[in-house]
Amino acid sequence: MNQLTISIIFYVFAAVTVLSAAFVVFSKNVIYSAFALLFTFFGVAALYVFLSADFIAVTQVVVYVGGILVLLLFGVMFTNTIMQTELKADVLHVVPGTILLLLMIAGMLYTFYTTGDWMPGQAQLQGSVVQRVGFETMSRFMLPFEMASIVLLVALLGAAFLARYDKAHKNEH
């Protein structure tokens, strides 16, 4: 693939990501916002591919599109009177908002320019990335991995407890 094609594909995905993210923020319809998130998540996954992070890209699709977005859509669809609610997408405080925005952009740019290494790494990736991810997860990052799984397990138990059919409570009524 020549350089021009790669650049074109990159800019298409970058545009999709930014435009759909803007749509999520500015849309007055919750459902449209939720569906526009699909394109944002997908664009971000594509940008990961451009960084040679295939595994992260697929994980992004599985976790964000398959998990979080579907959960969000379910939540939105099962909420009563969701379509009647008018969302506020107007600009309310122009001056403080602009100052905050500029400060944030300045902070991010400062961090990028002082800490970021903009040169591409010399070391080329050898072999399967998945294998490396597996080894690192099971050795150096064992503790964070286990912590995350315990947090998820607790969340699962909590959800199951809340959603449980309460037999004793039902008999009282």
Binding site: L38, D54, V58, V62, L73, V130
Partner: protein, 359 residues
């Protein structure tokens, strides 16, 4: 491995083909699975399903158009093309239109990592299997978009049922596939096939060479039926309760898109199960002494033949089950997923790990 030198040679050569600055080869690589889905859904999918259902019920099936009704599906396509494209007044126009498109793209994207033989694959990703399982998420969003966009209670119920079912059955399906990944030690679809090809033919396949593989094989097969909304798990489109589920309001080509997507994912899950447990494009015939049957039936063209035949076999089994088994109730469906398949998938996972360590 004798295949390693020629692995992906056709698709690599094709994707490097540029017409001036325009990467024509890349477009052709992407178009091949699309043409394949369209042709197979037209011939084997629709015609095969009607004929198989007819034979199961002691009927003849379509017989009028062409010899043995062979041209019936062509006539159906012509009819669908001419139908009026109705968008209901009360529907959400944007979501209604985008739903079938997103769903079809989701089912088509998985074909990127499906190897059509040792020399051809869209992209030999090192996360191939993970990608094929994960990209189904897009289909789920398409179903929700069309169900909500139709503004119809049957459509919304069908979409919600379908999504609940797909999201739940992804868990036993993924764990069962993880057992296969442990056996092969890779996630690349081509390496799965390479690891299972050899002079002894089908004895190299994990289903026959590994004493535990039958358990994840069965778990994945059952879960894949639910993920493609096929009977006995077709409550999202249960005719007796929901008219037609999430595609109740659709007509013409949009309706056909749902069928293309369904047949596309049917072939995809059949392809995944053949690759992970049945050797993919590896030939089933063994070398018997000087009669080198395996060497004779291996190669790029034979590989394509074997993987498509294996896929068609599983699609036949899916159709066979559809016309044999009654559909499950919603609670039975969830019971089967969470209390039967998921625990057994975990057992299979642990057993496979133990076998892989101590074999």
């Amino acid at each position: 491995m004798s295949h390693a030198s020629s692995l992906n040679s056709w698709s690599d050569a094709l994707s490097g083909f540029n017409l001036g600055w325009f990467p024509l080869g890349l477009v052709i690589v992407a178009a091949i699975p699309l043409v394949f889905i369209a042709l197979y859904a037209l011939t084997y999918g629709v015609y095969g399903e009607r004929k198989i259902s007819a034979f199961m019920q002691d009927r003849l099936g379509p017989m009028e158009v062409g010899p043995w009704g062979l041209l019936q599906t062509l006539a159906d396509i012509l009819k669908l093309l001419q139908k009026e494209d109705i968008v209901p007044n009360a529907a959400d126009k944007f979501l209604f239109v985008i739903g079938p498109l997103v769903m079809f793209v989701g089912s088509f994207l998985a074909f990127v990592v499906l190897p059509f033989g040792p020399a051809f694959i869209g992209a030999d990703l090192n996360v191939g299997l993970f990608y094929a399982v994960g990209i189904v998420a897009l289909e789920v969003v398409g179903i929700l978009a069309s169900g909500w966009g139709s503004n119809n209670k049957w459509a919304l119920y069908g979409a919600v049922r379908s999504v609940a079912q797909i999201v739940s059955y992804e868990i036993p399906a993924s764990i069962a596939l993880l057992c296969g990944a442990m056996m092969a030690g890779t996630l690349s679809m081509q390496q799965f096939c390479v690891a299972q090809s050899g002079p002894l033919g089908l004895l190299h396949w994990y289903l026959f060479s590994n004493p535990i593989a039958w358990l994840p094989f069965i778990i994945y097969f059952i879960s894949s039926l639910a993920e493609t909304n096929r009977a006995p798990f077709d409550i999202p489109e249960a005719e007796s309760e929901l008219v037609a589920g999430f595609f109740t309001e659709y007509t013409g080509m949009k309706f056909a898109m749902f069928f293309l997507a369904e047949y596309g994912s049917m072939f995809m899950v059949s392809g995944i199960i053949s690759i992970v447990f049945l050797g993919g494009w590896a030939s089933p015939l063994p070398n018997i002494g000087s009669l080198a049957l395996n060497d004779m039936t291996s190669g790029p063209a034979w590989g394509a033949f074997w993987i498509i035949m294996k896929g068609f076999f599983f699609i036949f089994v899916q159709m066979w089950l559809r016309w044999t088994l009654p559909r499950l109730r919603v609670d039975q469906l969830m019971y089967l997923c969470w209390k039967v398949l998921t625990p057994f998938a975990f057992i299979a996972f642990v057993l496979t790990a133990v076998w892989e360590i101590y074999k």
